[in-house]
């Protein structure tokens, strides 16, 4: 237990150091400003004491005063205050900038990881969790930075105070020597009590966010099945746990705050009690005692700043502990040194002995899959629902890497290609289309230099030109988050146009034409194939018309390639294939 406690404090201090090391400039500026503030706070106590002793009391004693003395007193008070203001402004601004820079910096690092880590990693982490990692966890990690320079400044003040105490009266100084370490002790105990509670609260906070995310994503299902009450209950249960967790945090914090407030007060009282005795026996004078007592009251706030930093550390650690796994996650897609072929025609694709298993599933999704696609030809991958077609499609454009075996693009293992080489050659249209919260044009060009004519031509091929023209701002219309303002069919057409405009050497269509007219599909395939240098196309489809366009069909069942050949060959030789593609022909049509 003691070791663990110790660890919290040590880790906390290391975390503080991390923040300082990463923003040394801002930190130094803020500490300098805080020190000015601290020094001026002490100075203001000193000035009040001096004014009392030299101007106030003599005036009352003598019954006269001079304008010069009064102006000097006023000038001293205001001058010190102005310097203090400079200190405060600097501290606040620099500390704020330091905290916000750290937040922004870690947000960048976290999101960079999101973009770098493989899809398998994404599949293991709920969206809600990743969002809260980038948002509230990063914020929690660096929240304590705002009062940090203040606290460091407070340390300076405490040092000055202790020295001043010793110079005035060593006995009174002992009070300081008892009170200040006591403050730290209370803080240490606090951090240890708080740490596990804070971690739990932060964890619950993320879970509440995950439920909200999932539930709002599922809004349509919730509505159509009338499950709003049940969803609210599910959310409410977790919100209640979060509430209990936060109340538990509050109990500890609620105890800590008044203690931190009472300690300097009790210190002041002790100073007075002991000081009175010292004044009585002539060891010190009343004026010194007054300024020391004043100093102690002034110290109350900065001491609390130390408390704020320490109080926030458990939360910071809890947040940072949730960010760290993202930052340290490995398994990013490794890239090789090679460039793809620079020819312009279709790419040759070969899949050799590929195995693939999702996460820690016991049964592999793909087993020893081998086939090749000659450059410029079209291959249809056909198989029952759940046979592994989409997984295979993802492998071809290197969304995932196989557990075993290789995927070759123009004879080069895709893992040996440099970053960006695969996506430069291949375009992929997924089953579920994803659009960015951008304009129609932005969604198609993805900021590559395609001309509007290129874009319009692609839209025409994807049969999207008419509805885009009818949009209020045409190509400049924003499509909303994930294309929310468009219908499913419209989104699919834009996704197709996005692929077509690139004239890819390899096009992989994963059942991406289910919502578009067959004639549109034929037009897309024609556009890519009917040139001198036709693209290679791998299409996952059920429609016979689409399949009939393919030079070869690969029949996938249970993750294995069970047959290859032309459409006609497979119809003759593979009963499962025939049953699947002829399902509609066999319908007894009422006449």
């Amino acid at each position: 237990m003691a070791r663990r406690r110790d660890a919290v404090v040590r880790r906390g201090l290391r975390h503080v150091l991390r923040g300082i090391v990463e923003q040394p400039g801002m930190f130094t500026l803020a500490v300098v400003a805080s020190s000015i503030y601290g020094a001026m706070t002490v100075a203001s106590a000193y000035v009040i004491g001096e004014v009392t002793d030299r101007v106030l009391l003599p005036s009352f004693a003598d019954g006269v005063t001079t304008a010069a003395a009064l102006s000097l007193a006023a000038a001293a008070i205001i001058g010190v205050a102005l310097l203090k203001i400079v200190g405060i402004l600097g501290r606040r601004l620099f500390a704020g900038i330091m905290s916000y820079r750290l937040q922004a910096d870690y947000r960048r690092r976290v999101t960079r990881q999101y973009l770098r880590l493989p899809l398998s990693w994404h599949q293991r982490h709920p969206t809600g969790q990743l969002l809260s990692n980038a948002n509230s966890d990063v914020e929690a990690s660096w929240f304590f930075v705002a009062p940090l320079p203040f606290a460091v400044g407070a340390l300076v003040m405490i040092a000055i105070t202790v020295v001043a105490l010793f110079l005035t009266d060593p006995l009174i100084a002992l009070v300081g020597l008892v009170v200040f370490p006591l403050v730290f002790l209370v803080n240490v105990v606090y951090s240890q009590m708080m740490s596990p509670r804070m971690q739990r609260a932060q964890q619950l906070r993320a879970e509440v966010s995950e439920i909200a995310h999932e539930s709002f994503d599922a809004a349509l299902v919730v509505k159509t099945l009338g499950r709003e009450a049940a969803e609210t209950e599910r959310f409410g249960a977790r919100a209640a746990e979060l509430r209990d967790g936060l109340v538990a945090v509050g109990r500890v914090r609620g105890l800590f705050d008044p203690m931190m407030e009472a300690l300097p007060n009790l210190g002041t009282l002790a100073v007075l009690l002991i000081g009175a005795g010292r004044v009585a026996d002539g060891s010190t004078d009343a004026g010194s005692l007054v300024s020391i007592a004043y100093l102690f009251t002034l110290l109350a706030l900065p001491i609390r700043a130390i408390g704020w930093v320490l109080a926030d550390l458990p939360r910071a650690l809890a947040g940072f502990d949730r960010v760290t796994p993202v930052l340290e996650a490995t398994g990013e897609t490794p890239y090789g040194p090679e460039s793809a072929a620079t020819t312009t025609g279709g790419a040759a694709v070969a899949v050799a002995g590929v195995d693939f298993t999702f996460g820690d599933a016991a049964t592999p999704t793909l087993r020893d899959v081998t086939f090749d696609v000659r450059a410029g030809t079209t291959v249809a991958v056909v198989g029952p629902t759940g046979s592994g077609k989409s997984t295979l499609a993802g492998l071809l454009v290197r969304l995932v890497d196989p557990a075993d075996g290789t995927v070759l693009l123009d004879g080069v293992d895709v893992r040996r290609l440099r970053e960006g080489q695969v996506s430069a050659q291949a375009a992929f249209v997924a089953q579920g289309t994803f659009l960015f919260d951008d304009t129609v044009r932005g969604n198609i060009t993805l900021d590559e230099p395609f001309s509007d004519d290129d874009v319009r031509a692609a839209l025409r091929i994807a049969a999207a030109d008419e509805f885009v023209a009818a949009l209020p701002e045409g190509l400049d219309t924003r499509v909303g988050e994930r294309g929310a303002t468009l219908s499913g069919g419209q989104r699919q057409r834009l996704a197709l146009a996005r692929a077509v405009v690139r004239r890819p050497r390899l096009l992989v269509l994963d059942d991406a034409t289910s919502a578009v007219d067959p004639s549109v599909e034929a037009r897309i395939l024609d556009a890519l194939r009917d040139s001198d240098e036709p693209s290679t196309v791998v299409v996952i489809a059920y429609r016979q018309a689409t399949i009939a366009l393919a030079d070869e069909v690969v029949w996938l069942e249970d993750g294995q390639v069970l047959a290859r050949g032309t459409h006609e060959q497979l119809l003759d030789e593979v009963p499962g294939y025939a049953a699947l593609v002829r399902a509609y022909s066999q319908t007894e049509v009422p006449v």
């Binding site: 994404h122 099945l225 919100a239 109340v247 900021d447 988050e481 429609r543």
Partner: protein
């Protein structure tokens, strides 16, 4: 279907409303918060008293115990001990107050969170889609958290500060009314400045909250759109967009920080001014014989007592602006009236149940548009679908098929005309008078994207009918002729589907979604492209099983694959918001109309065979 280009957005941040009005509105929404508040206030008062007593005692010790360099140790000891007792009582009072406050605020905020959550679900689909997902989530998470920080820290501190201010003023008056007036005069400009600052702060924090929302949106793209980002190698572009959002948030935060710092130092400056004025005027008053040296020294102490809460209050003000911005966002959700309301709540007097028995559908001159000014998606549709019919709705993309389905299930209300459910035998009931409990139990729609929860297959199916055992679920799959598919899953119906069901293929997700609707046992089943990603053989088996199982019920099916239409009792052809053809497949396929064209095109593509199979 050109959907809600300018769908009615939530009125976030558009309404200008004072902070106090927001707080009042919010407190009304949080009855839990008011419970036990008097005791908490009493404790806060006690804490305030304690805070004021200590410095006064210090001054008394100096004035009475140490005066004249000959300390009266008895007086000092008595006073100090008395004071120590007060300090301890104050600490206990603050502790009790804190605990109470944490409990009531967290309870109240949990209530608010849940209420806002529920309200998001009560909003219509159009509203839900008009908002960014991340922004909706933040309203039940970070916006509420912001409030809790304020209510527990700022709220208390603010209350104590005001109390302290009042007490300090009163005590100051007792010591010297002249000097008190002087101090108050010094603070008048600050009071004016604070109002001005409050507005600046509100604006600055409003911008910060907005930027936070933008960052969440940008980050969400990199997470949800991960496959697309990779497939197109646009990691750099996505990173740039995220960075830009992060930069904008950073700049907004620094801007807000500048205003905050300015607020704080203005208090500091005024305090120094007051101190200097008190010294100068105090000495002059003293010379005039109005006050003693002791009173003046004591008064200087009291000024710090007056200044400290002013500074704290400006700090709290800052926090309050931030919290109010968050509060407003939460309240705006709750205050958005759902445009499709459950009549059980909206009009309990006239609410009705659906008539018993099989349900038919009647459209009475129904018109619909997605937004004011948008073209009509459905235009004066008038039709009756008899109960027990199996109807296929066909048409080009964007013809209004999905709109039709959403109106039947009351996901949206028509802009004109009405939709009725029922039968000639049992009577027809306008949909907008049917309690949601009755409607959702008997009318179920399966959308194209059958969202699955991160749970097992069985859990997801059970969602349609809570209380089913895993075996019941397995049986349901058997009945739907999907037993073989289930058997092929790693762990049968206990196989986890992953988040959003992504461990399954989209076709498989659709199978689960159809099973979920099937076990809900509706009298009217609406399938909107519900099997579009399922392989044809499985689809044929499944739909035939469904036909058999739902015999005697009404089904509306929207599908591109016209095999459904071939088997349906009746086909409705929708084009540009109108029902242009109606009849059996056999009648329509030979007629010269859009259906024949659609069908032959589909036949060609799905079978490669010539069209005239009818």
């Amino acid at each position: 279907m050109t959907a809600p280009a300018d769908a009615p957005l939530l009125p976030a941040d558009q309404r200008r409303e004072g902070a106090l009005a927001t707080l009042r509105r919010g407190l009304r929404m949080m009855p839990e918060f008011r419970r036990g508040l008097p005791v908490t206030f009493a404790l806060a008062l006690l804490a305030t008293a304690g805070r004021v007593v200590v410095p006064i005692a210090v001054q008394q010790v100096i004035d009475r115990g140490l005066a004249g360099g000959d300390p009266d140790l008895d007086v000092v000891t008595r006073l100090v001990l008395l004071c120590a007792v007060v300090v301890l009582i104050t600490a206990v009072a603050v502790y009790r107050m804190n605990v109470r406050l944490f409990r009531t605020t967290e309870t109240a905020l949990a209530g608010l969170r849940v209420r806002a959550f529920r309200h998001v679900h009560d909003l219509s689909v159009l509203h839900q889609q008009g908002e960014r997902r991340g922004s909706l989530v933040s309203r039940v998470t970070s916006d509420v958290d912001q409030l809790s920080t304020f209510m527990q820290w700022g709220g208390v501190l603010g209350l104590i500060s005001v109390g302290q201010l009042v007490v300090a003023t009163v005590v100051m008056f007792v010591y010297s009314w002249q000097l008190t007036l002087l101090v108050l005069v010094c603070f008048i400009p600050l009071a004016i400045a604070v109002r001005w600052f409050a507005q600046r702060l509100a604006t600055a924090y409003g911008v910060v909250r907005e930027r936070v929302g933008d960052v969440l949106g940008a980050v969400a793209e990199s997470v949800v759109g991960a496959p697309t980002v990779r497939a197109y190698g646009v990691g750099g572009r996505t990173a740039a967009r995220i960075d830009a959002a992060i930069d904008r948030q950073y700049r907004a935060q620094v801007d807000a920080q500048k205003v905050t710092a300015a607020v704080f130092v203005s208090g500091e400056f005024v305090a120094a001014l007051a101190n200097a004025a008190v010294v100068v005027v105090g000495v002059l008053l003293g010379l005039a014989g109005d006050i003693t040296a002791g009173t003046l020294v004591a008064f200087l102490f009291l000024v710090t007592l007056f200044v400290a809460p002013v500074q704290t209050a400006s700090e709290v003000l800052n926090e309050a602006q931030n919290a109010v911005a968050g509060f407003r966002r939460v309240l705006d959700v709750i205050d958005t009236a759902p445009d499709v309301r459950d009549p059980a709540i909206a009009a309990p007097a006239t609410v009705r149940e659906l008539p018993p028995g099989p349900l038919g559908v009647r459209f009475d001159r129904v018109a619909f548009r997605y937004a004011p000014g948008a073209p009509l998606a459905l235009d004066g549709v008038e039709l009756t679908i008899e109960p027990r019919q199996r109807v296929a709705i066909v048409g080009e993309t964007g013809s209004g098929k999905t709109t039709f389905a959403k109106l039947v299930t009351r996901l949206m209300d028509p802009v004109d005309g009405r939709v009725l459910l029922g039968s000639d035998a049992e009577g027809w009931v306008p949909l907008d008078e049917v309690a949601f409990s009755s409607l959702r139990a008997r009318v179920v729609m399966v959308p194209q994207d059958g969202f699955l929860f991160d749970a097992t297959v069985a859990d997801n199916v059970r969602y349609g009918r809570p209380g089913m055992t895993d075996d019941d679920v397995a049986t349901a799959f058997e009945e739907l002729e999907l037993g073989a598919w289930v058997a092929g899953l790693e762990d049968g119906v206990r196989t986890p589907v992953g988040q959003r069901g992504e461990s399954l293929s989209s076709g498989e997700r659709q199978l689960v979604a159809v099973a979920r609707a099937y076990v809900a046992d509706p009298d009217l089943l609406v399938l909107d492209e519900a099997t579009s990603a399922v392989d044809p053989a499985t689809e044929q088996r499944l739909t035939r099983a469904l036909d058999r199982l739902t015999d005697g019920r009404t089904t509306l099916t929207i599908a591109h694959r016209l095999s459904t239409a071939e088997r349906a009792d009746e086909v409705l052809v929708v084009d540009a918001g109108h029902v242009v053809q109606r009849g059996t497949h056999a009648e329509l396929v030979d007629a010269d109309g859009p259906y024949a064209r659609l069908h032959s095109s589909w036949r060609r593509s799905s079978t490669g065979a010539p069209a005239a199979t009818g």
